[in-house]
Subunit: 272 residues, 2 copies
Amino acid sequence: MDPRPITDTGWQRTGKLWSSLKEVCDLLRIPVTAAVADHDTLFQHVQFKAGQRIHTIGQPFDVLYVVNSGFLKTVMIDVFGNEQILSFPMKGDLFGVDGIHGRRYESEAVALTNCDVILVPFKKFTALGKAHPELEAAIYGVMSRELIREQSMVTMLGSLSAEARVARFLVNLSERFSELGYSGKQFNLRMTRHEIGSYLGLTLETVSRTLSAFNEMGLISVDQRAIDIKDFNALKTLRRLPPSRTRDKQKLAKAAAAAAAAGAAPQQFAAA
Amino acid sequence: MDPRPITDTGWQRTGKLWSSLKEVCDLLRIPVTAAVADHDTLFQHVQFKAGQRIHTIGQPFDVLYVVNSGFLKTVMIDVFGNEQILSFPMKGDLFGVDGIHGRRYESEAVALTNCDVILVPFKKFTALGKAHPELEAAIYGVMSRELIREQSMVTMLGSLSAEARVARFLVNLSERFSELGYSGKQFNLRMTRHEIGSYLGLTLETVSRTLSAFNEMGLISVDQRAIDIKDFNALKTLRRLPPSRTRDKQKLAKAAAAAAAAGAAPQQFAAA
DNA sequence: CGTTCAGTTGAGGCGGATCAACGGACGTGG
DNA sequence: CCACGTCCGTTGATCCGCCTCAACTGAACG
């Protein structure tokens, strides 16, 4: 059904590495105590190439995943077969949490670029939580954070216009890149317009048009996947594009002329 | 902004009761072991009247809440001041989880009817989890379940038509009532059209019209808040109403509904 | 150099929002 | 008890934002 060639689940074991508990906690932005820092538990890394699937829907749940490098997407498929992108995990993000409840993953995760992912066996993780109360609290905290993220998505999908969604998407990406020490102004999108649209509840055409509109307005500069944010504040406070006549006078004039020529003026211009 | 008189947070201590750990677990549909069943920890009940607020945004987080009886709503307010209803907790549902991460509630909860709610101090809960591993696993499971619920909401808001959303809303309510031993066919809505609309990302008018349309099609019977589900299967498989001009002729509508129930996939979603 | 997929752009239509009017339920106070 | 205001729900008319369909360009790749 998905035309993209997704290599079936299978690790790339080149560059096999292991990370300490402290390194994992640092990635997850969990403050560590001395006891945790000294712990000698190691967590395995696994490499995936772009297009490979990390886990699929229905696959038995064993491990949580923490992104060490690279970009991914997580996808849920509803009862009618609609595909919906839920998140774009990147460095420091956790995924696989939806597998805890039913002991099977409810979503699938796919690498958008080559990735380095740390496997965190859930059993081992909670066992460590028992020994280190502050770690346990952090685990709950991370799960709660994920829940809040989803709630924000619901709020966005429920009330924002297409332009506001795209603007927030760019702002969020920018802030995440900044936190990781990369440029929050210039970056490359790792996903297609279609994937952005799925994430935001829009069509790929609307995403493309909105980016073009931002470009024309001077808020950003776009060239394919390359984004350069020119006016971060405007993006952050944007709710709805200003009326189109302020955007491009030529096209309005053309449209108005066409409408006049047509005799029977379409209602939207008759009102104005 | 909200015209309704919401009495400020303040308990009604009439009918003060306490529940055992086992009773709380049963409510949450957590399987209990003998050790847990015999535990003597007690959890306090609190009563709220319709319209009262259980917790507000920004209020320090201490406790999780489990609904023993009554109906509530949880509301989030985004950066632009948009109000969004996130859930309608009822008997056996947990809320307040979004407070764990930042030690403050990110949403507010309001009683839609008189309610009896159990306070579960989070510290006490996790401490019990330490003593009873299977309980701890269940706590993680409940939080994961909430996350999956939100993911389903995102998927719904991202891809379903207005009619499909309302249909799913009714189906979900029906199934929840059935699980609680109430009638899944006949029940009263506890919320206004406006609140349903906020929850589903629609306007109250669209909700009202859609319910009327279902009524005309014979899928349900509606009278104000009273719902009677006539054709559960059609609701469950509905994706999009037949075109309005065919809807005027009731017979054609019925035929279309039958086709939908038969599993014939409408073209617009089958491709995706 | 063809093929395929990503992205852009245009034209047009539809679904749902918006604006508006109305009836009914409910509570409140005369 | 009824008069009145308020909120809830329904329904109609209109508008417009986004989807849909379509054509085209350019990039990546064998």
